[in-house]
């Protein structure tokens, strides 16, 4: 066992000490902040836009004026995006001559004197179709505002003609709040978010550092160094040292990022203010409780599943590195390794809704999906400790089995240079190693 230490030390310092790691660690969050800020700026600046339109009103009951009032009333903002604002002018038209009127204002739209026009037909209250035309017809925010303005005007007229008090009706139809909670644990949205967050973090770590492990195994083979190393220590120890070192480097990088993100979140309002955006929504976001508070034991459990999952997949990458002879070949094997990983994600998502379905239970025991599925089930249901223990034991046992397999292939592959082995040759290697 102690001979893992020099390997760990070497891999860790050689990874963390590189310029690439430092640049990646610093640039990663900077890029994150950059994208965040850019999006913010774009959305905050562009907003819903200003719209200048004409209402061609052929209705009997002066509906045009009501629509105009509805349109020009200030709208609540939608999230970060400022609502579109309208300037409308009502023009009474005769239903028979509305085509000529439309022709005239269309010319104004073409000349860019106007953004568009709305035609309100005489029988709109009994179901005739209203019509909007303009060069802003693709602006979904503006269009939904137009639709609402017309609808509310027509609905209000219909209610009036039936003798119903609009205010009373609105009060009667006010939505009833319903608080939903699963008996064992938190809410499904938080669980899904957590599952997704964990799977994403694991995915990042596996993709970035799994590939580094693969590359490092490959390089050791290509540069003819591995024979010297395994003449001193066991191939298994070399692999374990390598995987734990690169995993630790990955975790360190993630920790730096998460810390940076936490600081960013807590200071987000300030930052947004610096960028000239409205600080309020960002402050709301940073104060919102994205994750329900977890008991420490659950946190430890999640960490164990996270580490186990990473170990298992990272080791599979080491196997790829041991089998192939160059990077191009290695790429073909990456996807098959990621398939069970994605499968775990696909099982974890519905498991948040239905944590005790047979597929969720199976998924939480099978090692290749357990790391993603079990944490969700733990959060959403009363999973027995026995089940959790079984799942963990299987997860770490299969990681160990894959390490053993990789070490075997590794030792033999040292001597097979040149071409990629066939499956049959691989099987032969396993027998002779």
């Amino acid at each position: 066992m102690p001979r893992i230490v020099p390997v760990f030390k070497r891999e860790f310092t050689e990874t963390v000490g590189t310029r690439g790691f430092m640049i990646g660690t610093v640039l990663g969050p900077l890029l994150m902040v950059g994208i965040f800020a850019a999006q913010f700026l774009i959305i905050a600046k562009s907003g819903g836009g200003e719209h200048d339109i004409v209402i061609l009103d052929a209705s009997a009951g002066n509906l045009g004026a009501v629509v105009e009032r509805n349109l020009e009333a200030p709208q609540p903002r939608m999230g970060f995006i400022a609502a579109p604002t309208f300037t409308a002018r009502v023009e009474g038209v005769d239903a028979a001559a509305h085509e000529q009127a439309a022709e005239r204002v269309r010319a104004q739209v073409v000349a860019e004197e106007l953004d568009g026009f709305l035609y309100i037909p005489p029988d709109i209250s009994s179901g005739e179709t209203a019509r909007y035309e303009g060069d802003n017809a693709t602006n979904s925010g503006a269009m939904s505002q137009v639709r609402q303005a017309v609808q509310r005007a027509v609905q209000s007229e219909r209610l009036g003609s039936e003798g119903i008090d609009e205010a009373k009706l609105t009060a009667a139809l006010a939505p009833v709040p319903l608080d939903v909670a699963q008996t064992a644990g938190g809410n499904p949205t938080a669980a899904r978010l957590l599952a997704f967050g964990m799977a994403f973090a694991m995915y990042m770590l596996v993709i970035m550092y799994g590939q580094s492990i693969m590359q490092s195994v490959l390089e050791e083979k290509r540069d003819r160094i591995v024979e010297l190393v395994v003449s001193s220590i066991r191939a298994r120890d070399l692999l374990i040292g390598k995987i734990t070192a690169l995993g630790a480097a990955g975790l360190l990088q993630m920790l730096i990022w998460v810390t940076a993100a936490a600081i960013l979140m807590s200071q987000g309002g300030l930052l947004a203010g610096r960028f000239g955006a409205d600080a309020e929504p960002v402050q709301m976001l940073s104060q919102a409780e994205l994750f329900p508070s977890l008991p420490a034991s659950t946190g430890v459990l999640f960490l164990l599943f996270f580490l186990g999952g990473f170990l298992l997949f990272a080791t599979l990458f080491a196997v790829i590195g041991a089998i192939v002879t160059n990077t191009q070949e290695a790429q073909q094997y990456v996807f098959p390794v990621l398939v069970p990983f994605l499968l775990g994600l696909f099982i974890a998502m519905p498991a948040a809704e239905n944590p005790d379905s047979s597929i969720a239970v199976a998924g939480s025991i099978i090692p290749f999906t357990a790391a993603m599925v079990m944490p969700v089930r733990v959060l959403m249901s009363n999973v027995s400790w026995l089940e959790i223990l079984l799942s963990l034991v299987l997860l770490f046992a299969s990681a160990a089995a894959v390490v053993w397999l990789a070490a075997k292939i590794y030792r033999i592959a040292i001597f097979a240079t040149g071409k990629k082995p066939t499956l049959r040759e691989l099987a032969g290697w396993l027998r002779t190693a």
Partner: protein, 319 residues
């Protein structure tokens, strides 16, 4: 335990290895004495590297046992061996001193103990100013020196060198010969494999010849030559004489006669007396400039032994 295995630094008993249909090493017994310089000779593909890799536990044995310094293979045993593989690589992006420190740590030598040794060796090989450079900035020759240092930094009792001279420029060949001689005088056991027989004859005191996974000769160099039996006679005639040459060729003692200008090289049949040749020459009244009885060179032993083994194999195939 140590008593049982006597003075052997490395002892192999019935060690074999098969890859699928290919028998890489047939059950092989080897006893490499303490302090010897032991040459493992054989043509390419004879099983030399496989044997070495089994000694070092890089690959497992199918049958048999390996003892190192009197004990069964273990981490402790491996720590007392220094190894220079035929395929010599380095971590190209590591700095020289860090790489050497890593090699030492792999052998259980703490970095703090290794540091002064590394400095000494780098000094000796004129690499001191390169110690903080990355391996990829070094020339091939300098990288090779770093590899030699890596193999002996932990002061191993046994040094195993697989085809050590292949790919070395003449200067580094000399550096390596110096290292080997130093190790020899320090009483270390050296096992090296080569197919360059000339090198082995100059450096070894013990040899083992293997061919196609089989041992065909083994023992102290002088004994191997003596056991080989055949003697050679070199004769330089004062004057060329076809008649004399024919008479010599017909002698029952002569197995083979090669003419090289005025010089004749004669291989006698096993255990025959070279005196018969001399008597014939005197009887014929031929002027002889030189008459010399020689023992076979290791190369001759090698070629004849490996050739004979090939012949046996042919016969087996056609039987």
């Amino acid at each position: 335990m140590a008593q049982l295995h006597g003075t052997a630094a490395i002892e192999l008993q019935g060690v074999s290895k098969r890859y699928g249909d290919f028998q890489a090493v047939r059950p092989l017994d080897l006893s490499i004495p303490h302090g010897s310089t032991y040459g493992l000779l054989g043509p390419n593909g004879a099983g030399k590297t496989t044997t070495i890799r089994m000694i070092l536990r890089i690959i497992t044995t199918d049958t048999g046992s390996v003892h190192i310094l009197g004990e069964p293979q273990s981490q402790r045993g491996l720590d007392r061996i220094g190894y220079l593989p035929e395929e010599r690589g380095v971590y190209r992006r590591m700095k020289v001193r860090r790489l050497l420190s890593f090699f030492a740590e792999l052998k259980g030598i703490p970095a703090r103990v290794a540091r002064p040794r590394i400095a000494q060796w780098l000094e000796r090989f004129e690499l001191a100013e390169w110690s903080e450079r990355k391996l990829q900035e070094l020339s091939k020759g300098m990288q090779q020196k770093v590899q030699f240092i890596g193999a002996i930094l932990h002061e191993p009792e046994i040094v195993i060198l697989d085809e050590p001279f292949s790919g070395l420029d003449p200067i580094n060949q000399r550096v390596l010969r110096e290292i080997i001689n130093d190790l020899k005088s320090a009483g270390r056991t050296i096992l090296f494999s080569t197919h360059i027989i000339d090198q082995a004859e100059r450096l070894c005191d013990h040899v083992c010849i293997i061919a196609r996974g089989d041992k065909v000769a083994d023992g102290p160099l002088a004994e191997v030559k003596r056991r080989h039996g055949s003697e050679y006679v070199g004769i330089t005639l004062g004057e060329w004489s076809g008649h004399t040459i024919e008479a010599l060729r017909r002698l029952p003692e002569v197995q083979q006669l090669n003419e090289r200008g005025s010089e004749l090289e004669i291989r006698l049949r096993d255990h025959q007396d070279p005196q018969a040749l001399l008597q014939l020459l005197v009887r014929e009244g031929v002027a002889v400039k030189r008459f010399e009885v020689r023992e076979p060179s290791l190369e001759q032993v090698f070629i004849e032994r490996v050739g004979a083994q090939d012949q046996d194999e042919e016969e087996l195939l056609h039987a």
